[in-house]
Amino acid sequence: MEDFSALLHGFAVALSWYNVGMMAIGIVLGIVIGVLPGLGGPNGVAILLPLTFTMQPTSAIIMLSCIYWGTLFAGAITSILFNIPGETHSVATTFDGYPLAQKGRAGEALTASFTGSFIGALVAVLLITFLAPMVAKFALEFGPPEFFAVYLLTFCSFVGTGKEPFKTIISLMLGFGLAEIGMDTVSGELRMTFGWSELLRGVDFLIVVIGLFGLGEILISMEEGLAFEGKHAKINPKVVLQTWAQLPKYWVSLIRSSAIGCWMGITPGGATAASFMGYGMAKRFSKNGDKFGSGELEGVIAPETAAHASGTSALLPMLALGIPGSATAAVLLGGLMIWGLQPGPLLFVEQKEFVWGLIASMYLSNIAGLIIVLTTVPLFAAILRIPFSIIAPIIIVVCAIGAYTVHNAMLDVWFMVIFGIVGYVLKKLDVPLAPLVLALVLGDRAEDAFRQTMLASKGTLGIFWSNTLVGSITTFALVMLFWPAISLAWRKLRQAAAGSA
């Protein structure tokens, strides 16, 4: 039980006064960020990342991951009280959450969704605790071809699970293109700088994230003309206890949603897809399935549990393989590199304190998060009643500062504005943005892995099928890539068969 003692040591690290303080700050900030339109997990973490450059990596990751948990919790607040999903992964929560609030049962709905989130997260953290070290140990044997195959699988599963494959491909490739701007790490030559010396260091992913998700989101909200007229939440111990007493009834939904969430988080399906799937499955299999949409408690629990399980388990591949399972995890991974840690399976060997401190903090911060959200919901709901004409300029100011502090460069602020416009247009055209961020963060590493592989094989692609391990990953990746085409062909075939019969 070497890992168990490491985990205990992690608890000792996470339980220091300083780190517990960071946890509380992180969660509160996260909820504020999650509640505000225009700020969310990826850009909230991106804006605050520069402030952690001088901190201990362990404390920094604890604070930033807590912001992430905070945003996950917060999505439910806006969905249930205001019928406005603060984050995309809480869209499914509005279906039953808002009807419940209209019936005056907002307190119950909030308690149920927070508790569901907590259970989903707990399952995911347990999974990380036991599975991540094993995956990392296994991945220690990986060479460049295996790594490239895993990267390929990550990118291809975006294409396979996305709605419109070609838009996903565009998004991915634009991310790669941005990653390749600047000095080539292998040859030292300048790529796509067009003689512009400011582009030498490349386009930082933090700038892109702040622009795409921050300013872009504000522009979208402006167009939709948000007016926040929410329901009031009354949460008191009695409501909480009454709701908790009902929860065991929904154990099937809880387990099912946790499982869906964990699976979607580890494969980068994302919290949004997980929450919809959790909701859909619960609707289909529940006894009260036909009442879903009119205010069923189960309809709140199912998507929230799945979303939180997925958001949490997205950190598993990030820790074990250096491959983030969500956009926010991608930003956290970028943080690792900035703090001077090398992401990948070696993290479990070389940075035991960091890894286990983070895992232990996940247990603690989710308990702390549950207590904080249950006790302070009215406070955060009040934030949403602040007029948008005050909130919007302040968020833009914060985005500008966030962009500037990355490299102390004014040019970055301009880039942020440009990416804000790009984000607005792409989002309106249903081009998914998460693949772009992921490709931007992983682009250089994927390219390096590819080049090292090609060096070893002297340019033949056959090396990706040179042993069973790399061969099966590559094949699986290609299946994912062509999945939309395969499923289309399959449907056509069945139609043709049915037609002739």
């Binding site: 520069p50 402030l51 419109e164 070609f166 838009k167 491909i169 565009i170 490739m173 634009l174 790669f176 293109g177 390749e180 080539d184 292998v186 040859s187 030559e189 790529r191 796509m192 067009f194 300013l215 504000i218 522009l219 402006m222 167009e223 003309g225 007029p387 948008f388 004409s389 005050i390 919007a392 300029p393 302040i394 833009i396 100011v397 500008a400 500062i401 500037y404 502090t405 102390n408 004014m410 602020v413 301009w414 504005v417 804000g420 416009i421 607005y424 247009v425 792409l426 309106k428 055209l429 390219e447 590819f450 080049r451 090609m454 060096l455 340019g459």
Partner: protein, 171 residues
Amino acid sequence: MEHEQKQDPPPRGAVSQRAATAVTTVIIFLIGVVMIVDNYTLGAGWAKDGPQPGYFPLRVGAIICIASLVVFAQALFGKGTANKTFVTLGRLRPVLTVLVPTILYVAAIQIVGIYVASTVFIAAFMRVMGKFSWLKIVLISVGVSAALFWLFEIQFLVPLPKGPLEAMFGY
């Protein structure tokens, strides 16, 4: 073209989803072309010691071109996005009322520093959009900037762009 005539025209003063997709994909296609050309001149082939620096990006550019062509074709000939509007002029106005001041704000940061620019930006926003009283405007806009100054210059010691006003106080 036959295909298009069957569709109802989008409401007046509106940009259709189809047109917006078409224009965007053309721009993305051009980005792909630029990537291909730039990396081709850099050397995108095979050197003695492995792939040249342009090898990977050139292929990325090629995939961008192909994918944007497909989405372009889907937008023009597909049925999915037929009559959806991308944006109407009426709804574009609030977007521009945020975007244009934001651009002016960023330009102003370079001249008067971020604190003064932010104060004016927040104040102008509150006045024009929210019609707040001047007292509230001054309290909030100055308060936010002062809080930011305290946080960044004093607490975190992260210097942000400053202008003549801060220089007067010795910062």
